[in-house]
Symmetry: C2
Subunit: 363 residues, 2 copies
């Protein structure tokens, strides 16, 4: 098959071996696959991948790896030991995990688990879900991305008086906006240096847009939540009768987390999806003084993932605002570079079929 292959640390668009479905696996023809920031983390930080002891990732510079874990494919064939409930030709997506004879792998993150950056990919039969014909395949491909925001928002367990502040309006930040909107959260403050992304956040339900080049998001937070006052400090902590800040860190650059710690209000709860590979410095004494808590990662859980897919399929979650571009396989290296700069559209879709038209709803 043709694929955008990760080999020797760079992307080569060329032929590679057709994947062969093993026990319990499905061979799929890729219709659409999004580029995710974690594809860049994976290809740019092999050492970080090697340090992971979960075994879910397996970076090999000397073997062909086909990345891509936000996908929709149509079923081409089944491997051995499969139920074959869904007809060949059915459009499907799934949690990006490949189960089979070997160790479990994240799809697109190991040589034996080719993902959506190629014409053909492998899926796990027990994890696939049919995508209804009326659901645009790009949208279903984004269930994985939007499940992340869903997870963090679920995990934040917002009290009615809590006021969320989203730092970073990339795909994950935008997915959190959508998850907050689905919960009818009235005030959603979003901060990003990219005005285009802020506009996308507004489309998804953000109520207050802040470009930190022009205004402090923490000042906006104080203004909106506390009428411009600081949160009162009581002995031993913050005053629980005042609205609390729940800050979502969706940037992942060194210093961003500490910036939140330095500038946030007493008692702020931080949910951090970033995690720069080089580690980060935090003002731990300030964090202690403010009683800050940080939840790093930890999800999404299957309930977030399939719940998000269900919402997309039911039409109650429209993820199309984040889709800004579609490319064929030859466009993958350039699209990855664009994603690396972080200034382009939140999601670029790869269409290995060569059909790169975007529906009218997406731009």
């Amino acid at each position: 098959m043709r694929a955008a292959v990760l080999y020797g640390g760079r992307i080569e668009v060329r032929e590679t071996a057709d994947p062969v479905p093993g026990p319990g696996q499905v061979l799929g023809r890729v219709l659409s696959c999004a580029i995710c920031a974690s594809d860049l983390h994976f290809m740019d930080n092999p050492d970080g991948v090697a340090a992971d002891d979960s075994g879910l990732w397996d970076y090999r510079a000397d073997q062909d790896i086909v990345m891509g874990h936000e996908f929709v494919a149509e079923i081409v064939a089944y491997g051995p030991e499969t139920e074959r409930t869904l007809a060949v030709g059915t459009r499907v997506t799934s949690l990006p995990v490949l189960l089979g004879a070997g160790p479990a792998r994240i799809i697109g993150c190991a040589p034996e688990a080719p993902g959506g950056f190629g014409e053909l990919m492998l899926l796990t039969e027990s994890l696939i879900r049919a995508v209804p014909e009326n659901v645009p395949f790009d949208q279903a491909a984004l269930a994985d991305a939007f499940a992340v925001g869903e997870y963090y928002v679920r995990r934040a367990a917002l009290a009615p008086s809590d006021v969320p502040l989203i730092i970073g309006a990339g795909a994950i930040g935008l997915s959190a906006v959508a998850a907050l909107r689905r919960r009818d959260v009235e005030t959603i403050i979003v901060s990003d240096y990219n005005d285009g992304r802020l506009e996308t956040a507004r489309e998804l339900g953000a109520t207050h847009l802040v470009n930190p080049a022009r205004q402090s998001p923490y000042e906006v937070w104080r203004e909106v939540a506390l009428g411009g006052r600081a949160r009162r400090v009581a002995f031993g902590g913050s005053d629980p009768s005042t609205p609390n800040c729940v800050a979502f860190e969706f940037v992942g650059h060194p210093g961003v987390l500490d910036g939140i710690i330095q500038q946030c209000e007493q008692g702020t709860r931080i949910l951090s999806a970033g995690g720069p590979p080089e580690g980060d410095r935090i003002s731990s004494m300030v964090a202690k003084r403010k009683g800050v808590s940080i939840q790093f990662g930890g999800g999404p859980a299957p309930e977030d993932w399939y719940g998000t897919l269900d919402a997309i399929c039911a039409g109650s979650l429209d993820v199309s605002p984040v889709i800004g571009m579609a490319v064929d396989l030859d466009g993958v290296p350039g699209a990855l570079d664009l994603a690396r700069v972080g200034n382009g559209p939140a999601r670029i879709m790869i269409r290995p079929t060569g059909d790169t038209a975007l529906p009218a709803a997406a731009r």
Copy 2:
């Protein structure tokens, strides 16, 4: 009065002005006051204190400051606008907060809020509680320290299957052991390089003592909680059917928090009381991959504080194992140096009255 005065960055034992109780305040004669690590933080890190915008601390190198915020005093006189419900001579303690005409201050952390390192101190009438005659004053003086462990343990909200691991058996770590014991937690693992402190932890209820110079506390945790296996990683997080680790960080040296992040199991919840003034480096990507959460500070709340005092007064909490030494005012500089080394008794009591006998129960 005579006091161990913090002036120009060092401790001078000499005369200083007698404190004069303001509106709502009480003048107390100090019977006992413990040295706390945060006294050392305060005197050793004026820049960190200056960076605090809560206003609760006020470091002034050119004014006399009398530290000491874990105290029992007897009432000598009342200031104006006081109710005077308790008779002069009553032994009292309180949350270490001085309220009055000026801004609220932590007692012992501002020139106008002299604490227990002197013969006389100021208290807030609305916060004081009488200490029954049958309760040793040293024990009541430690309500403040033991409220910290109580807070972190309450905040940890342990599930029945969670297994706690306490890193650092200083006074706060030991107070957490006592708080876990009071909740009938069956397994309490404590790690410290000081075997004497580990023995004290055992007296307070620890079930597994680990000296990391000889054994990894994380290996012990895995052995005790999981029979030596690693916690299973499921897609999107850890397997909720296995016991979770709740790690309490009570050391506060740079690198300790990251050591926990690096070595802990998937899904570990960390409660961190440390907060080194110089900040700390964390492996944020590892934290993300493991789904670690960290609660920094945030307490104790008044409920923890007075609940702990009540338990001490009722005899259901015996804090005497942490008391290892008593000194008079002349002994304060040496005792602070001993506390700074961190290798002495968990609590050294200051007796400005000059009576430095320890009851038989304490060593």
